[in-house]
Amino acid sequence: MALRRGRRRRRVQPFLFLLPSLVFLAAFTYYPILASLERSLYRASATVAHPTFIGLGNYAALGTDPIFRQVLENSGQFLIGTVPVTVGVALALALLLNRAHVLTTPFRTAFFYPTLLPLVGAAAIWLFVYTPGYGLIDVYLRRIVGGGTNWLGSPTLALPAVMILTVWKNAGYYMLFYLAGLQTISAELYEAARIEGAAWAQQFRAITWPLLGPTTLFVVVIASINAFQAVDQIFLMTGGGPDNRTNLLLFYIYQVGFQFFDLGRAATLTVFLLAVLMAIAAASFGFLERRVHYEV
């Protein structure tokens, strides 16, 4: 009897420990996901009292929404424009700063510093940096190529301008992961390589890059998810303009949901974003996982 009670307690106990996080996950993750799924099947606007069921009507409407197409294109460009660059810059910084030198710590601090700033604050600063006429960039650029570049107002430059800020903001953070990754690579491997007469590029290709595989995977996944969650800088710097050229997926959801109060359409967009994020996660942890090297 006592034995059985003990066994039952052992079976129940783990679930009790899980309960607090389960409550929060259910309230703030699972329920909203299910609610969004349900609401995406309705024509529901804040200005209409009773939602009507329209099946997949909202999804069909997305297919013909020209702004949604523009938003997808922008989000794709943002992903391609920020993730490889951020990862590349982070890796380069980590390689440069992975050595014992008097200046290593100040430099590491300097490159990590943007991470400590709230994104909203950083965006406000860059708003000034990009101001035509007397902004930081224009003042210096004028001496070289002539001034008057309206970064955030130009349909071709606005999105790259936001991307530059995003790379600047995130590269230092991913650098930390790479620094940590580099610490785990055994010095013996490099010693052996040097004895064999391997050049720096060979060492990088044969040792550093493969052994950093897990770090790179992690950083790419986080950076991709971040790219789809970018919203603060858009909110502050461009409002999605000009001509919707900087309107990204999450900002569009905000517009449709909280400015147009078209809740059904916003839920549909949310489900779409969710699907994208889950696809990224699935791709990385399923398919890519088999290809990265793991140290034992």
Binding site: S21, Y130, G148, G239, G240, G241, F258, F261, E289
Partner: protein, 446 residues
Amino acid sequence: MRICRRHGALGRPVVPLLASIGLVMLVAVTVPPGHVGAQAPVALTYYYPVGVSGPLNKLMTDMVNDFNGAHPGIRVEPVFAGNYVQTMAKAMTAVLGGTPPDVAVLDTPELFSLLDRDAIIPLDDFIAQSGGKAWLDDFYQALLLNAQAGGHVYSIPWQRSTPIFYYNRDMFSKAGLDPSRAPKSWTELVEYAQKLTIRDAGGTVTQWGVEAPVADTSPWVFQGFLIEAGAPFFDPNGKWVKFNSPEAVHALQFILDLQNKYQVHPPGPTGAAFWSQVPQDFIQEKVAMIYSTTGNMTFIRTNAKFDWNAGFMPADKQYGAPTGGGSFYVFNKTSAARQAAAWTFIHWMTEPQQAARWSIGTGYVPIRKTELSAPAFKDYLKQVPQALTATLQLRVAGEQMTIHDVDEIGLLLVTAIQAAQTGRLTPQAALDQAQRNATAILAKYQ
């Protein structure tokens, strides 16, 4: 996977235990106090936005504290809710959640969005109790235009503004122009702007003639150009818009001409950043003439190191400007007692001396005629005679676009203007597209 294992390390028993304690405490603090004393004052939740630069939060808090001090039976709790869009989002979310605020200052053109949700109540009965037509007529008529629908009054003007035309008098004198007046017409605006645009030896502009944030996140200033061009562009009942009339195309073409043909206005789309850049450029003496809200007058007055003046927005067929800014709304589904208390608050806030205090502290236009004779306002006009210009312009002001789904349709117009400014579409094609999309959205209200 290493990353997962790192998370796994958190699974020590102490963590869930701590989390459970935290959860219990969270529940404990969020449970509302059980009993409220019988004589406790009526507590009103009041949402307000801040739409212009300046220490507005402090002034608002001071005024609310003064109200609470003078009314022991009512306790107004001010909730700063961000800009207009954010405040509207918070209010609507609260309404959808069944816990509406009692009173809020919201962007005045949200009228139909609020009515469509049954979120607000008509104020006719309260107005009748407070002096009826005589009381209401003291407010400037232009400000009441978009407070009404179906014969009822739904909002009381509060922080109202209008775009006006600021100009740098020192630059006018230097260019040989009469510094005592602003250009009167679009034609004269072009002449002035050409004289005021200065280029260096390399052809780079060092001083622009004019800057007009015609479309930032809303097409507010552009509506002034539409009114001036004589384009009736929306239905007073909020059910249709007319964005592609010949007059509207003419107005948009004029903006493009300032930018591309005469090159007296910075080129390219006027985006969200441009709205706040324009007054900055003005005080930095990078531009001679700007269109900006009266709400920025205090900012310009305190920061400009030169002689400046304000004038009407130059006329095309006629003078004109939209009104703008926020008004007081009283919410539905609270209780009669709370609604009456909300009215007491609104009535007190809009008393001439209180309203004058707000106008002086912010630069928003006077909302009532008697406000002008308040002693404090008379003193203010002696210091800032320019403040009168905005009031005078109210006589020729038109109604700001107030329609169903006003935010979404306003953004269509913004996109159209920006598409024309980037050269992606011609003015006609851009406005045609906005018209088509707007008609589709408004179809459900026909």
